[in-house]
Amino acid sequence: MPVDLSMPVLVVDDYKTMIRIIRNLLKQLGFENVDDATDGSDALTKLRDKKYGLVISDWNMEPMTGYELLKEVRSDDDLSRTPFIMVTAESKTENVIAAKKAGVNNYIVKPFNAATLKNKIEAVFGD
């Protein structure tokens, strides 16, 4: 299935610089409809207000982490099928396993490059 470049994407990160980097990379990949949130609870509010085609989230944020956000999304009937990619500096195997068990669609470790982001998005949408 080709990736729908017009779908709304939500980028969640507590560092504005990282949001800007991911936004620019997404723009280069052709995504124009990108919103952002600064932590899990902010993201959850936005996800309940608007239908997003993809969530790209950091892990380590306060007050709600990306891991908690993922579990909230997967336990919410309306949001549970939303594709979710974790982009994080959490680079321990236990984190990857926990995210996988919680239902993450893909996992990217920081620092990453544009090609990795592109590959993982394509893998999520089976392109």
Binding site: T17, E90, S91, K92, I97, A98
Partner: protein, 239 residues
């Protein structure tokens, strides 16, 4: 066995009074407490002299130990660490965060400027790119300053480490369970539950390739692997 009645030396009593006065004013430090204990032991000298000589020796050793502990605490320079070294480290770290953030913003602004530049007029485009690239080079100068600031932080941390290590050795206590405040314990519990380990060193971090392997690994095999006893578990069974 009868003990002689304790007599306090008037001079030592005066010193003790001064310590109590400091205590009432809230100025007591750890070294004062150790000093007070030393004074108390010293003021009982007449009493100790009447005791069995072996007990006297024991008590004299305690007094010596207290005097040495007082010296070690003084050499720790706790005030210097708390009021000067730690705040300096904090300031340097703040500066590093700020300078890296500023540099990143400049670099990204210039990169965005290049991406958005009009390519129709080749000469104007070239000028735009050259100017942006120059600003990117200038912004990269932060790396030199950051390196120097990190050097200062390492120096301060080495100073603190050596003082604390010396005190720990003097007190003969190098290991033990850290006592956490309620807030620290709660933060630690949350960190463990939510697996917020933060970035790992290159030695311990897994690569994107390893992440991909975990993501693709068969669930059943993974569960079996998690349940499988490690060599340490097996060794423990035969111990």
């Amino acid at each position: 066995m009868t003990y002689p009645s304790p007599r306090l030396d008037p001079e030592r009593l005066e010193e003790l009074n001064k310590c109590f006065e400091k205590g009432r004013n809230g100025e007591v430090e750890l070294s004062d407490v150790v000093g007070m204990a030393e004074l108390m032991v010293g003021s009982m000298q007449h009493f100790f002299e009447g005791l069995d000589s072996s007990i006297y020796r024991e008590l004299r050793d305690i007094a010596k130990y207290l005097a040495s502990a007082k010296e070690d605490i003084r050499s720790l320079q706790a005030h210097d660490i708390k009021n000067k070294r730690i705040p300096e480290v904090g300031k340097e770290l703040d500066e590093i965060v700020k300078s890296t953030e500023d540099a990143t913003n400049v670099i990204m602004e210039q990169a965005e400027r290049i991406m958005a530049a009009d390519t129709q007029d080749t000469q104007a485009y070239r000028g735009e790119v050259n100017d942006a690239v120059t600003q990117i080079f200038e912004a990269c100068a932060f790396q030199d300053l950051t390196g120097q600031r990190i050097g200062k932080i390492v120096e301060a941390l080495n100073f603190i480490d050596s003082r604390i290590g010396r005190l720990a050795n003097a007190l003969g206590k190098t290991e033990g369970k850290a006592i956490l405040t309620e807030e620290e314990a709660s933060r630690e519990k949350r960190r463990q539950e939510l697996l917020t380990n933060g970035p790992q060193s290159e030695e311990h971090a897994i690569s994107q390739g390893e992440v991909d392997e975990v993501m693709l690994r068969d669930e059943t095999a993974q569960a079996a692997e998690e349940d499988a006893p490690s060599q340490e578990d097996i060794d423990a069974m035969f111990a």
